[in-house]
Amino acid sequence: MDKSVKLSAAYRPSEDVVVRDIEGELIIVPLVAGLADLEDALFTVNESGRAIWDRLDGQQTVEQIIGELAVEYDAPTEELRADVIGFLEEVLQRGLVIEVAQRQA
């Protein structure tokens, strides 16, 4: 399976995880075997990661998310692109999100 992040693709949380919001902290709890290790495989998403995660609705492309974050955080697009791709690579590798559909760039 291709685990590289595509700017034209949209992603959403896997159905194999439960996402918990505990006192403002986002915690991802795997439901099935094979996501990271079997033990202690709970993940917290940091504040900046959460800004990305909350936009993973299966509709917006990565490029659109970067554009939206650039406006919201008044940050350089290139820097945001690296952050967003880095985050998505990590959660994609762990199987916490899945690609929904590839869109035309």
Binding site: V18, R20, E39, A51, V91
Partner: protein
């Protein structure tokens, strides 16, 4: 945003965990058990929380931020709705630690646990290294084979387990064999429980008499603990960090931070404590009220018993000694009566570690800090 790892191991939430005693019934009838009722006890089964009631509690616990539930018993796998409750809990985003004797782990259940992992090793208690010992402890023919078969079903699927056994007269000679056998299988170092509790519901004095006879003598406990290389050094380090005078506080432990729900829907500030003044019936209330309003009224209690104030409140062996309100309740029906057996074990350990000399009582020591500082000089 740059430069931060996006995900990491989760921090523990405010409510760390809840213990849930799914049933007090068990197919075994262990000689030392503090809680079990017969598997076919229909009256106990009738009083147990229903599937819907457990689901309500699990949902409420999740809403309160709970991430970890520990399921114990009795034997939790005796419940017909175990799989349903398990999947419900996992789909809420809970991590489940299951305490079991493994004998009821079927192929089907092992498949389920492999597919939807509990995210915590199964805690499995082994009652002997031979069929003869095991079946004598469990008083159940075939229990050894059934447990080994269940364990094998887990291991073959690479489901993590943590193995432990109970040290008592019938098993004392098998502890080394247990550790050697368990080490390659157990995700955590094999764990031995050295001190037996009396019946936690104070329901059977004849069984209490049996448990007292099964207990190892304090010096025997210390001798067994010392089998492990490095034990004494580790304990001395532990003592320098954690022992100290308790004062009249009854709950210097973590009781009430999470708590326990018994098979019948009573909230307890900790798993073993069932004193009527320390339980809260969830069927007439809510988990939120139990944790936020009721638990502090229990855990803020102070000792009043003169014997406790003269001894335990002044003793500096807190951390070594198992004395606590639950143990006092089992033994004496109060929250604050010294338990001689645990006191003797703690004193034996303290002598072994160089904290006390023969004949000294810990509550008479004027300067515990000096004892702790000198500890180990001669060992």
């Amino acid at each position: 945003m740059a430069g931060q790892k996006a995900t990491s191991a989760a921090r523990r939430p405010r409510i760390r965990q809840l213990d849930m005693e799914l049933t007090e019934r068990c197919q075994n009838n262990c000689v030392h058990c503090a809680i079990n009722r017969p598997a076919d006890d229909t009256e106990a089964a009738r009083r147990e929380l229903s599937t819907a009631e457990w689901k309500t509690i699990l949902s409420e616990a999740t809403a309160l931020g709970c991430l970890d539930v520990r399921w114990t018993g009795g034997e939790p796998l005796l419940r017909d709705d175990f799989e349903e409750l398990y999947l419900f809990a996992r789909r809420l985003g809970l991590r489940v630690t299951l305490f079991t004797n493994a004998a009821l782990v079927s192929e089907r259940l092992a498949d389920l646990l492999a597919q939807t992992p509990p995210l915590s090793p199964l805690e499995i208690t082994i009652y002997g290294m031979t069929p003869k010992t095991c079946d004598a402890v469990t008083r159940t023919s075939g229990s050894f084979d059934a447990a080994r078969q269940g364990l094998e079903r887990l291991l073959i699927r690479r489901i993590p387990v943590a193995l432990r056994c109970v040290a008592m007269r019938p098993t004392a000679n098998e502890l080394a064999a247990f550790e050697e056998w368990a080490a390659p299988h157990s995700r955590c170092p094999p764990w031995i429980i050295y001190l037996l509790d009396l019946r936690s519901r104070r329901d059977d004095e004849s069984r209490n008499e049996l448990i007292r006879r099964l207990r190892l003598a304090p010096d025997e406990v210390v001798k067994l603990l010392n089998r492990r290389p490095g034990y004494r050094k580790e304990m001395q380090t532990f003592c320098r960090q954690f022992v100290g005078v308790q004062g009249d506080r009854l709950f210097p432990c973590g009781a009430g931070c999470g708590g326990c729900i018994d098979a019948y829907g009573n909230y307890q500030v900790c798993l073993p404590l069932r004193h009527p003044e320390t339980i809260y019936p969830l069927r007439n209330g809510s988990l939120a009220k139990a944790v936020t309003e009721f638990a502090p009224t229990v855990t803020n209690r102070r000792a009043a018993n003169p014997a406790f104030l003269a001894r335990c409140a002044r003793c500096f062996l807190r951390g070594l000694c198992e004395q606590c309100p639950a143990k006092s309740w089992f033994e004496h029906g109060t929250l604050d009566t010294p338990v001689e057996y645990f006191c003797e074990v703690a004193h034996a350990q303290a002598r072994d570690l160089g904290l006390l000399t023969a004949g000294e009582r810990s509550w008479d020591i004027a300067d515990p800090a000096a004892r702790l500082a000198r500890m180990g000089d001669a060992t």
